[in-house]
């Protein structure tokens, strides 16, 4: 085997090893990465920033633990921003393994800001069939959710007193790791004209640009970089701080940088080997 052929036929365990080592080393010796904020993430931030105390923002959280690395930072940053601004939050979860994720976020952040369940935020919980649930919420939140996640009837929650349906929330931000986004676009925006923005995983990001251009969604937070952009804006706005360890996505960005360098190098090595060995023949 020539040198060039070897270049294009490294055993995959070598690739694994190099990636593993690079990730661990970067995790230990971190550094700062400059960040460019995309307009689609900024528009979500600016919208939330423009809300006044007492207004209600709805967050639909539809992801399971497997993609929390990308989406949890978004949920935390938006929740903190809202609570800091005294904006009320209405949350629901339409992914079967996701309800615990919302509980984690909201219980923790509410404690930080001294917010009270039922007054400053309401967590509706989970129901099967995301499409049907969204449609029913568009009529009245009480159809799918007669009680909240903790079993309290909605009517006995002070925040819900004057709330009927999507008309009473300023906007919906859907943070999703799967097909949930399609339901929100089709049913909440399509049927009830609700103002909608989405936060999605890196895998899904590129697929939703048509809806951004057509105005069906007003903002898009794409994957971990999107989350880091949001955190960057929220830090500048004074809603979250590095000292309290509230920047999660930003913490991983150096690892993203080094692994991307390594992967691109591997691609280059493979291609050089491919072309050189072809030329020899």
């Amino acid at each position: 085997m020539t040198f060039y052929e070897r270049m294009m036929n490294l055993d995959r365990r070598w690739v694994y090893l190099v990636i593993g080592v690079v990730v661990v080393v970067t995790a230990i010796w971190s550094f700062a990465v400059p960040l460019y904020v995309t307009p689609e993430a900024r528009s979500v931030y600016d919208f939330v920033d423009g809300l006044v105390p007492g207004e209600v923002l709805m967050i639909g959280v539809d992801y399971a633990p497997e993609v929390m690395a990308e989406l949890h930072p978004m949920s935390y940053a938006i929740t903190r921003q809202c609570f800091a601004k005294d904006v009320k939050l209405l949350l629901c979860c339409l992914h079967q393994n996701g309800p615990g994720m919302v509980e984690q976020v909201v219980a923790q952040v509410a404690e930080e800001y001294g917010k009270v369940n039922g007054v400053d935020y309401v967590y509706l919980g989970y129901k099967p069939y995301p499409g049907i649930t969204i449609l029913a919420m568009g009529q009245n939140f009480r159809i799918p959710f007669p009680e909240d996640y903790y079993g309290t009837p909605l009517d006995s929650l002070p925040m819900m007193r004057n709330m009927t349906n999507f008309d009473n929330v300023k906007a919906i931000i859907n943070i999703s790791g799967g097909s949930g986004t399609e339901y929100w676009i089709n049913y909440a925006n399509g049927r009830y004209n609700a103002k909608l923005a989405i936060g999605v995983t890196g895998v899904m990001t590129a697929d939703y640009y048509p809806f951004l251009q057509s105005g069906q969604i007003f903002g898009l937070i794409g994957g971990m970089k999107g989350a880091a952009e949001y955190e960057y804006l929220a830090e500048k706005g004074g809603y979250i701080t590095r000292e309290k360890d509230q920047l999660w996505a930003s913490k991983s960005m150096p690892i993203q940088t080094t692994t991307h360098i390594v992967i691109i190098l591997f691609i280059v090595i493979g291609n050089v080997g491919y072309f050189m060995s072809k030329r020899k023949k």
Binding site: R13, V23, G100, G131, I132, G202, V203, A206, Q216, Q256
Partner: protein, 209 residues
Amino acid sequence: MGTAELIWNGVAALLVLCIYSFLYKDNPFYKFAEHLVVGVSAGYFAMILYYNAFLPKLINPLRAGQYWYIIPGILGLLMWARFSKKWQWLSRPTLGFVIGSGAGLAIPLYLQNYVIRQLSATMLPVGFTSWPLITNVMIIIMVFCALTYFYFSKQHTGAFGVAAKFGIWTLMVGFGAGFGMTVMGRVALLAERVIFLRDYMVQLWGALF
């Protein structure tokens, strides 16, 4: 940091390592962790379903005297006839209810959001005098060519074939973008786990020494 949390995090860290052992090859540690999560997730979902769906949507209304909920309840129970060969057909009307309502609801909305809204958003003013107008030209040509690739009633020959070819190139740029984004997504998951392990090591070190 309490001892309980330290132990819990230790369990978590150990399980993460069990999963990573799969990179070398499939092994009993990986299988153990994998099956454990299958069971735990099923149990977790069972409880969420019971507290968040069954209680508020069926049992509590019945207790409160809203007896008409018995009808969807019975329809739901009929779904379970699927497991019997003889009574399987009983589950079909219920299934029909769910599928029929799903289909009827979806038709106008799919057409509206995926077709008509997308179509009207592509009707853009074109020209060659400014950059936005030029991008509009590109968008329209690319959408046209990509649609041509998915047109099956005509052989891809001549000018039509050229359009289809340009269409598949456009699709490839889109797939490349998807791939690039996915690399970020997958690395994000790994980075988060490694940071978790690192933080746990720091915790453990602090607790022990």
